[in-house]
């Protein structure tokens, strides 16, 4: 042994010292970052149950599929050069970007097209990634708010098993299919944390505005909650406006610039173009659209159903369970005791004792506020004055409730755990170890239970659709020849209609448009009536066109072998028999009843109608109810809507013999046109006298009964009657040849029309801003006609009609502002990175 060699004792001491040092380092790292293990664990648990979605698969949820279908429609539109902000042939022709979920769609479709990723895969990846990352966002928010790091971590961990969730819930995503909120679930808490940081001078206004925009564009409700949450923090904290007005101004300006391109058209659509105004729907769908009552709120709080699942499922559920399911998430599948309600209640007590802390004060105030929001303006009148409150559905308020509740629950858990830890630490040695053992066991059991819940929820809710039948269906439909014009295909599928539409969309068949029912030939009409029925299709079905219909079982038997006068089958039947697994599928039939016309002539006389939105809805619905089986009848009036004040420019008074003037808001501007029309013998029908004009005033008689005799309904339309007797609903009146200048675009339709008489032609699309018509190369007026139809009055002769959708200039302006805002944000980030890098070099 050499002298210089240390003794074994010294070695051991040194080794022990190193171990102690390593332990200290590890302990330091753990104390600094250990709390992040909790959201990380939640993310890992989530990924371990959602990884099955990471591919081109269909999850069970109907709404999930529906969103996928919308994305396919968007991708389809891109292929034919359609503007993504324009109509894409979906849902009454409503432009897709007028829906809530702008960014989710654009992101998925953009990446799918740009990188060639299967759209279903991209759709699923977005959900899973946002979902898994959202606990970190919530932890970040709680940390910024001022909760200690362990409370923040616990909050992130717990938030994954919320019932309806603000975006972090497996159940919310996969049971109700609220997939588009996955972005919001990630960015809303992230924004809130950043916003608080901005008010403290820790975060940049540009970054906060960017996060706000991302949350906003991911789902409109997130923006409302962000505004509510931000304002509330401002009110209950010490943050002063004087110190922050510059930051707030920059945040507001950049935020508005970033979201304006979507939000302004969205508001315009919501307030002016929605098929049924909220004021009508909301009053009747009380629990969905207005609020719960005070007693219901009290009940759900007492029984713990607001934050936990109903204790009973299925048929055994009592009325309260069903009620809670209805207002939260439409039937959760996992049963869970009211643990979270108790934890939140405990958190409220903790917060009451710690009301001096801004974080707890904010969480408690936020919970109280969101519960009031949940109960609605009937019980808390001040809510009536909040912006957009009429458009906030009750069940969405649950997200905000949970946003605050899980913070309180986390504070409760952390307080309890810390108190017990301190208690154990200060006991005598013989008690300390058992107490610590108990403490560790309790934490392990709690964490395991929450973890198993996360896994269990994934297993319960993630059910991948069996794609065999869908594939077989797609094969059959693929055999249908391309007719060169838009047509409807419909097939039987034992599941939600949206699923089969989405699947067809995945195979490049354009998703359905609700208009294409009812303008086919009589057998198709009967088939449609038999399979669809008025009760299911409402008042609209007779207006639209069935090109292909399908059915199964007894419903279709009379139609399968139907022959026309010449003995030929009246309906063309598309492939059936055995599916690819050899299963008998003969009950499954697809029929073609198509005609060559997408632009459909209506033979009646145009009836100019000047009215408000609400009046138009009633007018259009009552017209379709009253005249749906008389579209072939020249006595049928064709209501064509004219904006108040634009009567003279409409050019419609010439061919009309009657005018319905129901909206007197701009009577002075229309007075001259009305007088001229009346002077030439036109009949003016109005709810009130119009000075200087002979007016027929509506009273107890319906407006339809006040029309000239030749425009009245000639026969009653009782349900027992044959709905339509004629062989052809007027398609022979005009020779219409369609040609698509740009493939199957939904924003450019062109027709050559040859008609012996002046005629009203209808295109099955809603008349949204941006639709233009060129008749023989010149701009020609368009009118909203009946429900969801664009109508045009065409003079006799041969004409070329080109319907074109162009994005309005104001929308372009907003889009440019958004790009400018984004460039500004990126510029600020780049400058910061550059400065930081330069700073490092200087240091080095």
């Amino acid at each position: 042994m050499s002298i210089s060699e240390p003794t074994s004792t010294a070695k051991r001491t040194r080794r022990a010292g190193r171990l102690v040092q390593a332990f200290r380092v590890l302990r330091g790292v753990f104390l600094s970052y250990g709390h992040l293990l909790l959201p990380a664990a939640a993310a890992v648990l989530t990924l371990s149950s959602t990884y099955i979605l990471l591919g081109p698969v269909l999850n069970r949820s109907g709404d999930n599929i529906y969103h996928l279908m919308n994305e396919y429609a968007l991708a389809y539109g891109f292929r034919y050069g359609d503007n993504p902000f324009g109509p894409l042939g979906l849902e009454f022709g409503i432009p897709l970007m007028r829906f809530y979920q702008c960014l989710f769609y654009l992101l998925n479709v953009g990446v799918s097209i740009g990188f060639g990723v299967d759209l279903r895969t991209m759709h699923n990846v977005t959900i899973v990634v946002c979902f898994a990352a959202s606990p970190f966002a919530y932890t970040y928010f709680l940390r910024k708010l001022g909760l200690n790091r362990w409370a923040a971590g616990i909050g992130g961990f717990l938030s994954m098993i919320s019932v309806a969730a603000f975006g972090n819930s497996i159940e919310a995503y996969h049971q109700a299919g609220i997939v588009t909120q996955s972005l919001g679930g990630l960015f809303f808490p992230w924004f809130m944390g950043n916003f608080i940081g901005m008010l403290r001078g820790e975060n940049r206004a540009s970054t906060t505005a960017f996060l706000f925009a991302v949350a906003f564009l991911s789902h409109a409700i997130m923006s409302v909650f962000a505004a509510f949450g931000g304002a509330l923090y401002f009110l209950v904290s010490d943050v002063g406006l004087r110190r922050n007005w510059k930051r707030m101004a920059a945040f507001g300006a950049i935020g508005i610039a970033l979201v304006g391109f979507w939000v302004l058209p969205f508001l315009e659509h919501t307030y002016e173009k929605r098929a049924i105004p909220d004021s009508i729907i909301r009053g009747r769908g009380v629990h969905w659209f207005t609020s719960v009552s005070r007693s219901e709120l009290s009940m759900v709080l007492r029984t713990g159903r607001l934050l936990d699942d109903p204790p009973r499922k299925g048929d055994e559920r009592d009325a309260d369970d069903k009620f809670m399911d209805k207002i939260s998430i439409i039937g959760t599948l996992k049963t869970r005791p009211p643990v979270f309600t108790l934890l939140t209640g405990f958190g409220c007590i903790v917060a009451l004792f710690g009301l001096r802390r801004t974080s707890l004060r904010f969480l408690l105030s936020g919970l109280a506020f969101s519960l009031m929001l949940f109960a609605g303006p009937d019980d808390f009148r001040f809510i009536h004055y909040l912006p957009f409150i009429k458009h906030i559905q009750t069940f969405r308020c649950t997200y905000l409730v949970e946003f605050f509740a899980f913070g309180l629950a986390a504070a409760a858990v952390e307080t309890a755990a810390r108190s017990f830890f301190d208690f154990a630490r200060t006991r005598r040695r013989f008690l300390r170890y058992p107490l610590f053992a108990f403490w560790i066991t309790a934490i392990a059991v709690g964490a395991s239970w929450v973890g198993s819940e996360i896994l269990g929820l994934g297993e319960v809710h993630l059910v991948i659709r069996d794609q065999t039948i869908l594939n077989q269906m797609a094969d059959a439909i693929r055999a249908v020849p391309d007719r060169g014009y838009p047509f409807r295909m419909d097939v039987v599928y034992p599941g939600r209609r949206k699923i089969r539409h989405a699947w067809l969309a995945a195979y490049d068949f354009h998703p359905y448009c609700t208009h294409w029912k009812g303008v086919g030939a009589t057998p198709g009409f009967h088939l449609c009536t038999s399979l669809g029925g008025m009760t299911r299709n409402g008042n609209f079905y007779a207006l639209a066109g069935v090109r292909y219909v399908a059915g199964g079982g007894d419903d279709i038997k009379p139609f399968i072998d139907a022959k026309d006068d010449e003995g030929d089958p009246v309906l063309e039947r598309y492939p059936n028999g055995k599916d690819r697994d050899g299963k008998d599928n003969s009950w499954h039939a697809v029929f073609g009843t198509g005609r060559d016309h997408f632009l459909r002539p209506l033979v009646g006389e145009p009836l100019p109608v000047v009215c408000t939105d609400a009046q138009w809805i009633w007018m259009a619905k009552s017209w379709s109810t009253r005249f749906r089986n008389k579209l072939w009848d020249p006595n049928t009036p064709i209501p064509m809507r004219i904006e108040a004040g634009a009567l003279a420019e409409s050019g419609l008074l010439g061919p009309a013999s009657a005018l319905m003037y129901l909206d007197h808001a701009r009577l002075e501007e229309d007075r001259q046109a009305i007088s001229g029309f009346a002077a030439e013998g036109g009949l003016v029908i109005s709810p009130a006298e119009i000075d200087g004009v002979e007016t027929k005033v509506s009273g107890e008689t319906t407006l339809w009964d006040m029309l000239p005799f030749h425009m009245r309904r000639t026969r009653s339309n009782r349900p027992s009657e044959l709905e339509r007797e004629e062989l052809d609903p007027g398609l022979e009146l005009a020779d219409i040849i369609s040609f698509q200048p740009r493939g199957r675009t939904r924003q450019l339709f062109a027709y050559d029309v040859d008609t012996l008489e002046p005629l009203v032609l209808v295109l099955p699309m809603e008349l949204f801003d941006g639709w233009h018509l060129e008749l023989d190369g010149k701009e020609h007026p368009l009118f909203a006609t009946g429900p969801d139809l664009i109508g045009v009055h065409v003079p006799r002769g041969a004409h070329r009609l080109v319907f074109r959708w162009k994005m309005p200039a104001r929308h372009w302006a907003m889009l440019i502002a958004a790009f400018a805002g984004l460039a500004l944000v990126l510029g600020v980030w780049a400058r910061a990175i550059f400065r930081r890098a330069r700073g490092r070099r200087e240091l080095l």
Partner: protein, 131 residues
């Protein structure tokens, strides 16, 4: 000087706690009230801000949990209900109002004993349309 300090302190207290206390207290008061005394009737339809274009509307309400009889009061253009146009005992949860006058604002509430429900309002368009 001392008074200014007290005022500043008071303002800070109000700033910090008033909103929080109002929200928390407001919610608690309502919930306790519900549990102790039950709930009275609550107007539901037509919703606030609604404009009717018809001569007839159905008023709908939730009955609440109290058992006392309910009196419906309707007042035209008068939110004080000094001289209600209609005052009627009702047993169900809806009542049809006929012959609505155009251009008027209708106020209605439900009385249970001397406890009134919140007042609900709707307007009738000057131009009624019978479709």
């Amino acid at each position: 000087m001392q008074r200014t300090g007290i005022l500043i302190g008071l303002a800070r207290f109000v700033r910090r706690y008033l909103v929080a206390v109002a929200l928390i207290g407001g919610l608690l008061v309502v919930l306790v009230q519900v549990d102790l005394f039950g709930t009275g009737p609550m107007p539901q339809y037509p919703p606030e801000g609604y404009t009717s274009y018809k001569t007839q509307e159905s008023l709908q309400w939730e009955k609440g949990t109290r058992e006392e009889e309910i009196v419906l009061q309707v007042s035209i253009d008068d939110p004080s209900f000094a001289a209600p146009a209609l005052e009627k005992k009702v047993s169900g949860t809806s009542h049809s109002l006929n012959k609505l006058e155009g251009g008027k604002t209708y106020y209605w509430r439900l009385m249970q004993g001397d406890r009134p429900s919140p007042v609900a309002t709707f307007k009738v368009s000057k131009y009624n349309v019978h479709l």
